[in-house]
Amino acid sequence: MFNIERWQEIFESLNKNKLRTFLTGLSVASGIFILVILLGFSSGIQNGVTSQFERDAANSISVWTGVTTKEYKGLNPGRRIQLKNQDFNDIVDKYDDQLEYKSPFYTIWGGLVNYKNESGNYRIQGVLPDNQFIENADVSQGRFLNYSDVEGAKKVAVIGNKVSQDLFKGEDPINKDISIYGVSFKVIGVFYDPGGERDESKVMMPITTAQRAFNGGNNIRNMTYTVKMSDNFDAAVKRSEEVSMGIEQDIKQTHIIAPDDISAVSVNNTLEEARKIYSLVDTIKAVFWFVGIGTIIAGVVGVGNIMLIIVKERTKEIGIRKALGAVPMSIVVMILQESIFVTMFSGLFGLIAGLGLLELVGPLIESDFIKYPQVDFNTALTTVFVLVFAGAIAGFIPAYHAAKIKPIVALRDE
């Protein structure tokens, strides 16, 4: 391999056959280049889709309480379980690294809302700013609630699009005052909800404000958490079940509820929705794997084909070399060493060009569905080696046959 004489011979032959060297190199380099770009964009699309649907995929866990049905530790059944701020905070503290968004709710069903002469009954909810992401609310005008609103218990409200249409009749509602049961709130934003009109017939305000304005004390009606996205659906199911069970046990313990009492606390999660998203991501992955493998196969066939042509073209030269005393193995080694050198070199060139382009163009792409297109360097390098190796195998067969040709046949005048 490190025979300097042989390398001199190889460089000479490459140098003297610039066009052939260039074409071989070009086809290998462009193959790898395309593969790298493809892999990059597949990861980009995967990232994009994942981030687009991450919120929907984030499996949400809702906790509701009701009335106990079983006697437990000397307490009678029929007791109403009331969640407090403390319950919400305990869970947040305990499961902080598993949870993404979290919000307690203090709800008044059918609260009377007035603006000037218009009025209507809507659901009034005290929430935390995270609720915007839990419900996928899309704020079209103004802004959603923030933590300063919550801490200051400011009398501000974000109203659903339906509420805005009903009460404001096209007027700009931002910074106008509405009154709920006589208490006035400043409208700071309007939201749309993918859930439609029903979910848009709501008024949301900071939970602190709602508790204070409507005599809520520390009470909350229910709470919702979202669990962070996992690598795959099974992991998501496992994680969300762990968290759900943990929460249920914790609440039963604090509120002294029989462990087998099913109506006092209900913890639900929305895995069905998540399943769709995970299966979408899996499908995308599968498609790109398929395309990627297809590209590699095409590359291998291409390299093999080039080898075949090179050997064919060099048959006469091989005959001459043999007549001058070349042993068959030296012919095979010469052709393979030469082609492996060319494919390796141009493969790496294509790899670097592809990675460079991704690096340059990647950050400029402003599409929601393509994010951070990039290729794992090791994957790409492995691909180059697979291609070179497979190409060498593909080249070995014709080279071996060429070396076996009797010089007399190779030298025959056409």
Binding site: S13, K316, I320, G325, S330, D413
Partner: protein, 221 residues
């Protein structure tokens, strides 16, 4: 060759001594090229024995044949068979490469033989920059480079005009004068007459084998 096997040579018995210049003549199909290929170990006879420089040439595998060719034989072809992307010098040096001679020595030796055929000034030209006669002289230099026992020439003048043919024959005669054994296959009588012995083949057998008065090519040059 499949089922249509053809007996081309049907009992050839002859000896060539060191220093001879022999021409093998015959019309096409007479088996003269096949004979040369057998002698050149490019092809193997089904039967019979062949001894070269007291070495029995038999049971050749590819590797041994290649080594023998490299050590014992120099080839000159009708169509020159130079490697077209290599300079004249590199073509001449190629047999030495397969002998394992190092680069410096290769270049020196190749240059010496190129000079011997009068092409030293052309050493860095590619074959397609040379005339037919020059190409054949490069090929002769290449055949000489490995200092073989025997030169085998298959129609060495077949692709050349009369004047150039005579120049090439003059060169070959000069090499023979230095003591090299040379076999030439030809179908041209004037070329054959420039050798010292003519073997006539017909339908795979030798019909006559005579020593002749050599005509020197230099008188035509």
């Amino acid at each position: 060759m499949g089922s249509n096997s053809l007996h081309v040579l049907k009992g050839i018995n002859f000896n060539v001594k060191e220093g001879e210049l022999v021409s093998i003549m015959g019309s096409s199909g007479s088996g003269k090229s096949t004979l040369l290929n057998v002698l050149g170990m490019l092809d193997e006879a089904d039967k019979g024995s062949y001894t070269l420089d007291n070495v029995p040439i038999k049971n050749l595998n590819e590797k041994i044949a290649a080594n023998y060719r490299n050590k014992f034989l120099g080839f000159i072809f009708q169509s020159f068979n130079l490697i077209n992307y290599k300079s004249a010098l590199d073509n001449v040096a190629l047999p030495l490469y397969y002998q394992g001679v190092n680069r410096k020595e290769r270049v020196e030796k190749a240059m010496y033989y190129l000079d011997k055929v009068g092409l030293a000034p052309w050493s860095h030209h590619l074959p397609n920059e040379l005339s037919g006669g020059q190409k054949q002289r490069v090929a002769i230099a290449r055949a000489l480079a490995s200092d073989p026992k025997v030169l085998l020439a298959d129609e060495p003048t077949g692709a050349l005009d009369t004047k150039t043919s005579h120049e090439v024959m003059d060169l070959i005669q000069g090499i023979n004068d230095d003591g090299k054994t040379i076999l030439i296959v030809t179908h041209e009588l004037d070329i054959a007459n420039m050798t010292k012995r003519i073997v006539n083949l017909k339908d795979g057998v030798i019909i006559d084998d005579n020593f002749v008065e050599q005509v020197r090519a230099s008188q035509y040059v």
